[in-house]
Symmetry: C2
Subunit: 427 residues, 2 copies
């Protein structure tokens, strides 16, 4: 897909019409295109939006996009932000405009979304042994010489299954793979030992449909992760790249991919990747952090590396979920009309930040989210809490990945509430 | 909307084309309409579907639809299955064809979905004080004399907000409301006492835009719910209906709505609603259970009332999530390519049922799901487990409401794997 077609596909998203598919949008906007609704510059609070509605901050989103662009550039890292977080082609495009090398993904159906909007470089940070998906990707590559695709391998059997699926499919070029080094005993995917890594690389070497181009892994899975342990594991990863290079295992590659980096340890990744020795080919040091785009108010606010390196900046939580108090059945209870369908709940409860009533916003003093039902949040209200039926509560969320996935269309609002864009997701 | 238009809207769902929006569908079906893909009668296991893919059993779905139809009829209950579970207009339609009075929903955006597909009777089992949403519903009622809408009230302030939103909107008829009786101290929404119920009813009586037509609540929220306590609360609900009727509070109604009943206690609801005394108007005894449509393998399998009344039948778990083993990094670990994005995880982990390899299916002996990442399930494998990279694992799920909401299109497969339908959801 050429750039013009990709731009058309993105523009077509804004030609979609407001209807029952998109919760939170103003009922009286039914039938408008999203472009027309955007042009109306409605206010999130007075423009007829219905609750619950999740909004992204326009300013914070831009801030986060810029901050990670400059962070990666400053540290000599290529950046393939994890697209599974947002699954939003418009954000993929903005990430690429902000200097990203490409987009990381986790599953082949996510690759289909990215490809439908013309993403040219995709790093699949996962094993892929599904024959139907492999053949589709090979066909995409055959049809588009600009499409670069790299995925993990971590078992000889996996390599054999990939090769079997791809053999005789008339693939134009080998599929690029990296050996995934597991983060330790009991960790997630990835080979447990360097010896296993060699065995997998040996299998790739005799699979004509595959080409080994690097090594990768995910440092956040290091058991008992601490700065020392994470750096230790990153050192093993870098060492494996150097060993494989010395052994000639990357013959046929144009560059050597070394990839790590979620949203908790990219400072350690930057430090350790700076120590990668001179290799026989250029090194593509690929960082994959994805949660930064919206950041959050709890989990990643606590764990972000910027807490350790404040001189390098700070991400800003960009989500706010607005829900309305529908019930106040006792002095210490209130209920809003958002629940598990609307808010992340896997790591932490949402956090009540502000209360809006009659156009005035004030801190949500004495209000705590204590539980979630499918369609309700349970609020405990202390004696000092001033909450009435009809109030809008602005909530912060924890875990971007399980926030985005509950919304198919997300208004982007400026600080004064003016909605200036709508972000479409595909989960 | 007339029946013909509603049928056209449902048919239009099958005119949608297979593309990146729908995970799990065969990549080589891209561009086909869903009707064309259905006509191909592809096999779920050999037809090019990619993992993860959630499937509904055609036979079990039909069994469950029929069982609750006959259950409700046998007990003289009207049935408004909770549509928030599936948010699937095709299933709403089948529920209505199976005798349902209408559809229960929880939020106004869900009402928009149901209305877009012509559902005529909607019971909103929730308070609604959002002015934009109320005005939209009033406009729907003005445009369609066949649209009946009923919602909860549980506070004087809520009644006042509703009335203020609806005043002067030229509404053709009052909005019908029922007083929600809370299930006890510390429970969810709903008035805590009969005195509060009277105060709310008094407020409705002086709100010209509203009409009181009944009482309702949700017995599963009874604190420390036991058969005795649930029956005790249901007795209070029935008593409140009788008291209100005697006091002439339902003047202007055509019938008196008494509604309760989730998926855990409908046996108690049937028993206690059978004791509703003769009222001055016909009683609409409205059951709202929603989870029955797919049922599940853990939570509702344990809690279903049919366990107490086996002579009345048994629901059958209709979901199976298929995921592929992508990594087997140690003798006691395996990872499949489904995670929090694909499986319910709020009440229980998924349960590994079967392993498929080379077309052969066998029990998933020694395989246990121990954790979920965003895009992986962590499997613990005992020594007797026979699992390899590439195997498909068939998993049972817990909690229908948080299973449906992770899939926008769900293949419906017969026992031999033939996919005979596709169910579209709108969350």
């Amino acid at each position: 897909m050429d750039a013009a077609t990709a731009a058309e596909r993105l523009a077509a998203l804004m030609a979609e019409r407001v209807d029952h598919r998109f919760k939170g949008l103003p009922p009286d906007a039914e039938g408008l295109t999203l472009a027309e609704l955007t042009a109306e510059r409605r206010n999130l609070f007075t423009g007829g939006f219905t609750t619950p509605v999740l909004a992204l901050s326009a300013e914070r989103l831009e801030h986060n996009l810029t901050l990670m662009e400059t962070y990666a550039a400053r540290h000599g890292l290529a950046f393939a932000p994890h697209g599974k977080t947002s699954m939003a082609p418009q954000l993929f495009q903005r990430q690429i405009e902000h200097g990203a090398w490409g987009i990381t993904l986790a599953a082949p159906h996510q690759v289909r979304v990215a490809r439908a909007f013309g993403v040219r470089r995709i790093f699949l940070a996962n094993e892929l042994v599904d024959a139907a998906a492999l053949r589709w990707i090979a066909a995409e590559q055959a049809a588009d010489p600009d499409f670069r695709f790299i995925c993990y391998v971590d078992s000889v059997r996996g390599v054999e299954l990939m090769d079997a699926a791809l053999r005789g499919r008339g693939t134009s070029r080998p599929m690029e793979v990296v050996v995934e080094l597991g983060a330790g005993e009991g960790a997630r995917t990835g080979v447990r030992t360097e010896a296993d890594a060699r065995a997998v690389a040996d299998a790739v070497a005799v699979a004509p449909t595959l080409r080994l181009v690097g090594v990768a892994g995910y440092e956040a899975q290091v058991p008992g992760a601490s700065p020392e342990r994470v750096r230790g594991w990153l050192g093993r990863l870098v060492g494996l790249a150097a060993e494989f290079d010395k052994a000639g295992r990357f013959a046929g590659a144009d560059e050597i991919v070394v990839s790590a980096g979620g949203s908790e340890w990219f400072d350690a990744v930057a430090d350790v990747f700076a120590t990668i020795p001179e290799l026989t080919l250029p090194a593509l040091k690929l960082l994959r952090s994805g949660a930064y785009v919206s950041h959050d108010d709890v989990h990643y606010s606590r764990l972000t590396p910027f807490n350790r390196v404040p001189e390098e900046g700070a991400l800003e939580p960009a989500f706010r979920l607005w829900a309305q108090v529908v019930s106040r059945p006792s002095p210490d209870q209130a209920f809003v009309n958002a629940g598990k369908r609307d808010a992340a709940y896997d790591l932490d409860h949402p956090v009540a930040h502000v209360v809006r009533r009659d156009g005035t916003e004030r801190p949500a003093t004495g209000i705590e989210v204590t539980a979630l039902s499918d369609q309700h949040l349970w609020l405990h209200t202390a004696p000092e809490a001033d909450v009435e039926v009809g109030d809008w509560i602005g909530l912060g969320l924890s875990h971007p990945c399980t926030s985005f996935d509950k919304w198919q269309l997300i208004p982007v609002a400026e600080a004064d509430g003016t909605v200036v864009d709508y972000i479409r997701t595909f989960f």
